[in-house]
């Protein structure tokens, strides 16, 4: 006992000295790798500050922020006005990085990269286009010989921001989709098989001949999955990349303090149409002044130096115009 006590005392002292300010956040899983990198780098620069982030899903993050168990939340899907009103304090919804969702497929014998129009994607997911030799697909992909094979449609079975972006895009480009299905983190799918997570969808695509599914761009890049290009609203076929995703955000029109815009089907010539922001949900009024100062400093750093770390992890950085607006909006945090 005599030996243990001093050790315990030392431990207690070192713990209290190491983290004088500790912030807790929870939410979306999609930005988790970049968030944990940011929080870690920031902790390396300021050893007395520790920011914890639990990737429990956007829904969980919103619920925890609502009940006040975390200092900030994170969501792939911006909160609408009714949700915002349920929050204990007004919140700032701040875009941090960008993601994109790509149509991945596996058809044996087809090596050429396929092109998809919005009508084809909506038709396949509504169940009106059921065969790969459909006229609409053949017309867009002239020169590619497509087999007479049923299309196996695969979607995410778990609720996810990826599904939200995908269905949000389909709702914008197809009125049928909007009226029959709509957009959400989970929807009532007219056709197809559900698989859990990006890895589940990718695994199922790889196994089933003639299948199509949607996965996050990051996942597709890291795992070298074949995906097609999509026609954007200015008529060009764009393959998803970090640049074309950032371009989509640059062409979005947004107010100076409300960043809740959907950037799917963006109008820019170079814009990849199935892109989206992911958001940090930050209370505008903080009870703890110390925490508020620390977090504000972190946000400033994240929007300047932090943005340069995004591409290493395959996240698309925010365009300069959006960054400027966000830096101004930070003044609302008091």
């Amino acid at each position: 006992m005599n030996r243990v006590l001093p050790v315990l005392a030392l431990l207690a002292i070192s713990l209290s000295a190491a983290a004088q300010t500790r912030l807790n956040g929870a939410g979306a899983t999609f930005p988790y790798p970049i968030y944990s990198k940011w929080f870690n780098e920031y902790h390396n620069m300021h050893s007395d500050i520790e920011i914890n982030y639990q990737s429990i899903g956007s829904g969980g993050g919103i619920r925890q922020l609502q009940s006040g168990t975390v200092d900030f939340g994170a969501s792939d899907m911006p909160l609408d006005d009714t949700k915002v009103k349920q929050m204990p304090t007004p919140i700032l919804q701040l875009p941090t990085v960008l993601g994109a969702v790509v149509p991945a497929y596996d058809i044996s014998g087809v090596t050429a990269e396929l092109k998809f129009t919005p009508q084809i994607l909506a038709g396949i997911y509504l169940g009106t286009i059921t065969n790969w030799n459909d006229k609409a697909i053949a017309a867009t992909n002239s020169g590619v010989s497509l087999p007479d094979k049923n299309i196996v449609v695969i979607h995410r079975s778990d609720g996810s921001g990826t599904t939200f972006v995908w269905t949000d895009y389909l709702s914008k480009v197809s009125s049928d989709w909007k009226s029959k299905v709509g957009s959400n983190t989970s929807v009532s799918w007219p056709v197809g098989l559900g698989a859990k997570g990006n890895e589940g969808v990718a695994g199922m695509i790889r196994q089933m001949d003639g299948s199509i599914g949607y996965v996050e761009l990051i996942y597709a890049l890291q795992n070298k999955i074949t995906f097609g290009s999509v026609k954007n609203s200015s008529g060009t076929f764009i393959k998803a990349s970090l640049e074309s995703t950032t371009a989509a955000a640059a062409s979005a029109k947004m107010a100076s303090n409300d960043f809740r815009v959907s950037i799917t089907n963006a109008s820019g010539k170079e814009a990849y149409p199935i892109s989206s922001f992911t958001y940090l949900l930050i209370p505008k009024q903080w009870k703890d002044n110390g925490k508020q100062k620390v977090f504000l400093d972190f946000l400033n750093w994240m929007l300047s130096d932090g943005q340069s770390m995004t591409t290493q992890l395959n996240y698309a950085p925010l365009p300069a115009t959006v960054k400027e607006k966000e830096l101004l909006a930070l003044k609302e945090i008091k």
């Binding site: 956007s58 929807v187 009532s188 197809g192 559900g194 859990k196 089933m208």
Partner: protein, 372 residues
């Protein structure tokens, strides 16, 4: 009944040899209440019987009773039992409370509605209830004969040398995490089903209506098969224990009567052990009803009620695991909670039915003279 019945001296003395009774000097030290019964004399009217001490426990202070190891043990066990009840009750209360919004909106129709649309806010649990029950039944159909065969083989047929390794290997199956089963199913089982098993089933059994439609590999059949593999260790190891305790002389008697090996197993072993085997099956079923991850990975996650076992389905546990983390709307969350409630109720109903089944199975005489 004459009072003489209570006099132990008039009992025929063949129950126990005298040596088993306490020696006289010890008998003298037995507290008075133990001897009260014995002080009833022949010819006494029942009203003259000495009254037993009201309750010996009341004479001892409460704290002393606590220190008494017997009472302490009893109290501890009662507490443990009470905890189980309390936890179940709390789960029920919490589920009822949190699902109240969905209950107010849909009422009893929630359990019979077949639409699940988080966008428009229409929720019904029927496809999930159906999927849970059907995948579990498929699992039982595959697992029960196999598990009993394994148990019989290990206890009655297999060379002594193989007994331990086989028993050990089946139990090892139970230690594998379910996500591993799920991954194995995706990469090994599903392709086999899609390329070999399902086309064959569609060719020869399509007339049943159970095996129609495109063979995805993924679907109710795949889920049932994975579940079967997961519950085989449970059913077979418990059945094995039950079969082991069937007295050896029962087997010998059957063989002596000229029974073949198979007749011996059927008449002397399985018939004796049936209650225990049904219990094992119920435990396996319980596991199958609640299994989540492995099923989610291969069932296809489509909330529909299809007659074909090759079509994708969805289970209650799967939809909760899939959608809870990202569910935002209050009604949506409440509906997911009510799915949890439905799972709770279905499990209770299945357990009650299973209990009834055990009762009907064990009601008869343990062994019949002929195994008809």
């Amino acid at each position: 009944m004459s009072a003489g019945f209570l006099d132990h001296q008039s009992w025929p003395k063949l129950q126990k040899p005298m040596g088993a009774l306490p020696k006289p000097e010890i008998r003298d030290k037995v507290p008075a209440r133990r001897t009260l019964q014995n002080s009833v004399q022949p010819g006494m009217a029942p009203s003259e019987f000495p009254k037993p001490v009201a309750n010996i426990m009341q004479a001892v202070p409460f704290w002393k009773r606590l220190l008494n190891p017997d009472s302490a043990f009893k109290g501890l066990m009662a507490l443990a039992g009470f905890f189980v009840l309390a936890i179940v009750a709390l789960i029920l209360v919490e589920l009822l409370q949190r699902s109240s919004l969905a209950w107010q909106k849909f009422g009893i129709h929630f359990f019979f509605g077949s639409e699940w649309d988080p966008v428009s806010g229409a929720f019904g649990a029927l496809p999930f209830i159906y999927g849970t029950l059907v995948s579990s039944v498929v699992a039982l159909v595959i697992a029960v004969p196999l598990s009993i065969a394994v148990a019989v083989f290990v206890t009655d047929m297999c060379p002594r040398l193989l007994r331990k390794p086989i028993a050990y290997a089946t139990e090892l199956l139970a230690a594998i995490p379910s996500v591993i089963y799920g991954l194995w199913a995706i990469f090994v089982l599903v392709p086999i089903l899609r390329l070999h098993v399902e086309p064959w089933l569609m060719k020869y059994f399509a007339w049943t209506g159970l095996f129609t439609g495109p063979a995805y590999g993924i679907g109710m059949l795949a889920a049932g098969t994975v579940l079967a593999i997961m519950i085989i260790p449970i059913i077979s190891s418990i059945s094995r224990e039950v079969l082991t305790v069937v007295p050896q002389h029962q087997r010998e008697a059957a063989l002596a009567l000229g029974a073949t090996r198979w007749e011996m197993v059927r008449m002397a072993v399985l018939r004796n052990a049936r209650a225990g085997i049904v219990g094992a099956i119920i435990l396996g079923l319980g596991r199958a009803l609640g299994e989540t991850i492995a099923v989610t990975m291969v069932i296809g996650n489509a909330p529909q009620i299809a007659k074909s076992l090759l079509a994708p389905g969805y289970t209650m546990a799967s939809v909760i695991a899939n959608e809870f983390a990202e569910a935002t709307g209050d009604l949506y969350l409440s509906a997911l909670m009510e799915i949890g409630l439905a799972l709770f109720i279905v499990t209770i109903i299945v357990n009650i039915l299973a209990g009834l089944m055990v009762w009907t199975v064990t009601r008869g005489t343990p062994v019949r003279a002929h195994g008809q």
